[in-house]
């Protein structure tokens, strides 16, 4: 049986990086995700797997170190929280433009600005819609437990390399800070140089005789070249939309009312569904696990089945826009959120549900 360890979501990210053969982590401390680097520094993986762990002088440096490492076909990652991610957005756009794989962990806190250090989900739009400039998408995956934090690092790199695209693990202060049981999977060694060359033939690792040099760039001054490149990206994103959507459902089969929630909110909503079910109200929940690609087909299907949908988010209403697009007028779509680090309770969600649906 696999070993079960009590750990924080943030610690799980660090331990998973070491155990899944990550080559390099570059970061800069910020609450509520500082335990990621603290754990890496405590574990000293450079002495065991050879993984590089480096505290850069700023978020700008860390993301550009990721850019450099990824250019060499290495499995590299960074982590930060909302204001730090804002600083990284230029780099993320360049990485998306250069079609490089990497994993970026965003343990969200409340904003805008420096905001608060308390949990929030107010960077859904930043992560899913862009953040940086240009027509690009990151693949965005949203963990809801410490086990997810552990598992999503490996899954994130798998997606990143499959599509040569940055992947954002969009967590929040609750998932980062809570401790839960985490089951450790067998260790994966870091890739050898030969394996890197095999998996990343595009990497800039020195030009052997007999092939053209590899070029990593996000710059193309010719309009047609850039347009063709953007169309190629579009085809890739369509491919991702077609093949990588992941979600989980809770009591949706006979549901008359639907909640949509991701990350920590999905767990609080699950408890709200239980309260409503006990009262005989047929509520259900869909949790998007991938935020880009968004489970629009499944939400569209459920919108045809239920009387109403509520999107529950720790923000002013961001994912609800995508829920409305998916529902496309088939049923009313409502929203309830808290901000600034305040967190709704299951009972509070039930109360708001009653108000929205005019139920006693």
């Amino acid at each position: 049986m696999a070993e079960k360890i009590l750990m924080k979501g943030n610690e799980a990210i660090a331990i998973s990086a070491i155990r899944n053969g990550v080559d390099g982590y570059f970061g800069y401390p910020i609450t509520p995700q500082s335990e990621v680097m603290e754990t890496l520094m405590k574990e000293k993986p450079w002495e065991t797997t050879g993984m590089v762990v480096l505290q850069a002088e700023s978020e700008l440096s860390s993301i550009n170190m990721v850019y450099g490492g990824a250019s060499c076909g290495k499995k590299v990652m960074t982590s930060s929280s909302s204001p730090g991610i804002s600083l990284m957005c230029e780099g993320i756009s360049y990485i998306a433009g250069a079609e490089l794989p990497c994993v970026i962990v965003d343990v969200m806190r409340g904003g805008p600005g420096l905001g608060t250090i308390q949990p929030s989900q107010s960077d859904y739009s930043q992560a899913v819609k862009g953040g940086g400039h240009g027509d690009y998408h990151c693949i965005v995956i949203a963990p809801a437990s410490a086990q997810d934090m552990y598992d999503f690092v490996d899954w994130g790199f798998e997606l990143a390399f499959k599509y040569r695209n940055p992947v954002i693990i969009l967590a929040d202060g609750i998932i980062g800070q809570l401790m839960e049981k985490v089951e450790l999977h067998p260790m994966k060694p870091r890739r050898t140089e030969e394996e890197v060359l095999r998996d990343a033939p595009w990497a800039t690792l020195g030009k052997p005789a007999g092939r053209e040099r590899n070029v990593i760039t996000s710059l193309s001054l010719d309009a047609n070249t850039q347009e063709n490149f953007n169309r190629k990206l579009k085809a890739k994103y369509d491919d991702i939309r077609e093949n990588e959507v992941k979600f989980s459902e809770y009591l949706t089969e006979d549901a008359e009312y639907l909640f949509v929630a991701f990350g920590c909110s999905s767990r609080i909503c699950e408890a709200a569904v239980d309260i409503l079910r006990e009262e005989g109200i047929k509520a259900g929940l869909i949790r998007p696990i991938t935020l880009f690609p968004f489970p629009e087909k499944e939400i569209s299907r459920l919108a045809g089945q239920v009387k109403s949908i509520m999107s529950i988010e720790l923000n002013l209403g961001q994912m609800v826009e995508d829920v409305r697009l998916a529902a496309n007028g088939q049923c009313p779509v409502g929203f309830y959120g808290r901000q600034g680090g305040n967190i709704y309770t299951p009972e509070e969600i039930v109360e708001e549900f009653r108000k929205f649906n005019n139920l006693k």
């Binding site: 079960k4 360890i5 009590l6 609450t31 509520p32 250090i117 308390q118 202060g173 609750i174 800070q177 809570l178 401790m179 839960e180 049981k181 920590c264 767990r267 609080i268 699950e270 408890a271 709200a272 239980d274 967190i343 709704y344 309770t345 299951p346 009972e347």
Partner: protein, 184 residues
């Protein structure tokens, strides 16, 4: 089985580590747990609290409003959490940090003079384990053998001598807990 616990006191009293040891003990008993701290700008001398949920089923919300048990180590925490204990629930408190005794009549209230236990042991660090012992005496949701395993998992190997000291403090806490009023 589901037990929802709030542990609250001053930063530095060992609130978070008490919760961690309890949570680890539950894992050793093959139960599900979540441990969710308040992680605001708290520091030594400020307030600190952690919510621990132990269940034999998968745990959904880590955020809750009512608790089966409140373990209270200072007055601010008593003011904040006394009302949030479910009727029929349990409140364990250390009277040395309290200026106003708990008033609830619909819950079981007990006290533990954990400072005395720590003073007798000559080690202030075991204070929180005396409190944990008091709680485990009232609700034996985890077996002592699993608590010891939880201690072994939580305490770094270089402090191995602390395992025995903590264990003794837990036993003392179990002995010294005083039931003030009971609805059990």
């Amino acid at each position: 089985m589901k037990e929802e616990i709030i542990i609250a006191g001053f930063g530095g009293q060992g609130v978070l580590s008490m919760g961690k040891i309890l949570a680890y003990s539950a894992i050793m008993q093959d139960l599900e747990v979540t441990w969710m701290p308040s992680y605001g700008p708290e520091m030594r001398g400020g307030t600190a609290n952690v919510c621990v949920i132990i269940s034999d089923r998968k745990i959904s919300s880590p955020i809750i409003t009512k608790y089966d048990t409140a373990i209270i180590l200072n007055q601010q925490s008593l003011d904040k959490f006394e009302d949030k204990v479910k009727p029929g629930g349990l409140l364990v408190y250390d009277p040395s940090g309290i200026t106003r005794a708990p008033a609830r009549k619909d819950i079981t209230v007990c006290s533990i003079d954990a400072i005395e236990v720590a003073a007798e042991a000559g080690n202030p660090k075991v204070y929180n384990m005396a409190v944990l012992g008091a709680y485990l005496q009232m609700k034996s949701i985890v077996k002592m053998e699993n608590v010891v395993k939880g201690l072994e998992k939580s305490i770094p190997a270089r402090y191995a001598d602390m395992i025995q000291k903590n264990r003794e403090a837990i036993e003392k806490g179990k002995e010294k807990v005083k039931i003030i009023s009971s609805v059990l």
